[in-house]
């Protein structure tokens, strides 16, 4: 039992529990906060895995931008509590059953079939340095230039789309 593993287990527990919180919380605001916690845990995982750039992106984009957006929308629409629904009585048990099966399958796959023997060591110092980020940047702007540029268009389209969708039509009843 080394310290890394202990850290890992703690983080894993935090992540899973925050996910569970998301799943169970009645209020959307709590759910959003649990999700932020989850994202933070995952960001630390990234650091452990030697991917500092991704970790920072995770924090800024997800926790910073996306979740703030969520909270704004929640505030806009009101965090109403939904009445209990009778529409899909079998949905919940079926979903849980399937989830259990899925988990079982994943476990089976992971431990009986894949035989992943690799172990991931603590990242070296230079990995978490500016050089590594530069390498990532160079790869991104050389090898993946086109996808990168396409992403910009995607974002532009999404932005325009969001504006169009939320724009109040003149004369339309609110």
């Amino acid at each position: 039992m080394n310290s890394m593993l202990i850290l890992f287990i703690i983080l894993s527990l935090a992540a899973v529990l925050s996910a569970l919180g998301l799943l169970l919380s009645r209020s959307a605001v709590y759910a959003a906060l649990f999700l932020v916690l989850n994202f933070a845990c995952v960001a630390i995982f990234y650091l452990l895995l030697g991917a500092p750039f991704i970790a920072l992106t995770q924090i800024t984009v997800y926790a910073g931008a996306i979740m703030v957006l969520f909270l704004f929308v929640i505030m806009l629409l009101g965090a109403e509590k939904l009445p209990k629904s009778q529409s899909l009585p079998w949905q919940r048990p079926l979903a849980i059953g399937l989830a259990v099966v899925l988990l079982f399958e994943a476990g089976f796959l992971l431990f009986q079939r894949l035989h992943l023997t690799a172990t991931l060591a603590q990242p070296e110092a230079q990995i978490n340095s500016v050089d590594a980020i530069r390498t990532l940047g160079l790869t991104l702007f050389n090898q993946y230039l086109l996808p990168f540029e396409i992403t910009s268009i995607l974002l532009l389209v999404a932005m325009v789309g969001a504006i169009v969708l939320t724009k109040q039509e003149k004369g339309a009843a609110g």
Partner: protein, 103 residues
């Protein structure tokens, strides 16, 4: 701080998070929470990507995650806009209210 963590642990965490996300999509009726669950599933996938990238020592995994995050951002923007639009006409964010495409 020496010691290693087996790759399979990361994947297992990823799998658990993914299943939770999926459950959230299936069980919750609040459109916002459903959406959040989707984000959770994306995160789970990202985690697996990064873990494998570390395991194989290549950068492609990280770059893919980068793209996923970008797409997720776009998706959230459009998705939330949709939810707002739907709320305007239905005055609800219950996904079960959106069943006019019933066969």
């Amino acid at each position: 701080m020496e010691g290693t963590i087996p790759l399979s642990y990361y994947i297992a965490v990823s799998a658990i998070l993914f299943t939770m996300g999926a459950l959230g999509v299936l069980i919750r009726r609040n459109a916002l929470i459903v959406f959040m669950s989707i984000e959770l599933m994306l995160n789970a996938a990202n985690l697996a990507f990064v873990a494998f990238a570390r395991s194989y020592g290549v950068l492609t995994g990280q770059i893919f995650v980068f793209f996923v995050i970008t797409v997720a951002a776009a998706e959230v923007a459009v998705g939330l806009a949709l939810i707002v639009a739907i709320f305007r006409s239905k005055h609800s964010i219950d996904v079960d209210q959106m069943s006019s495409l019933k066969g």
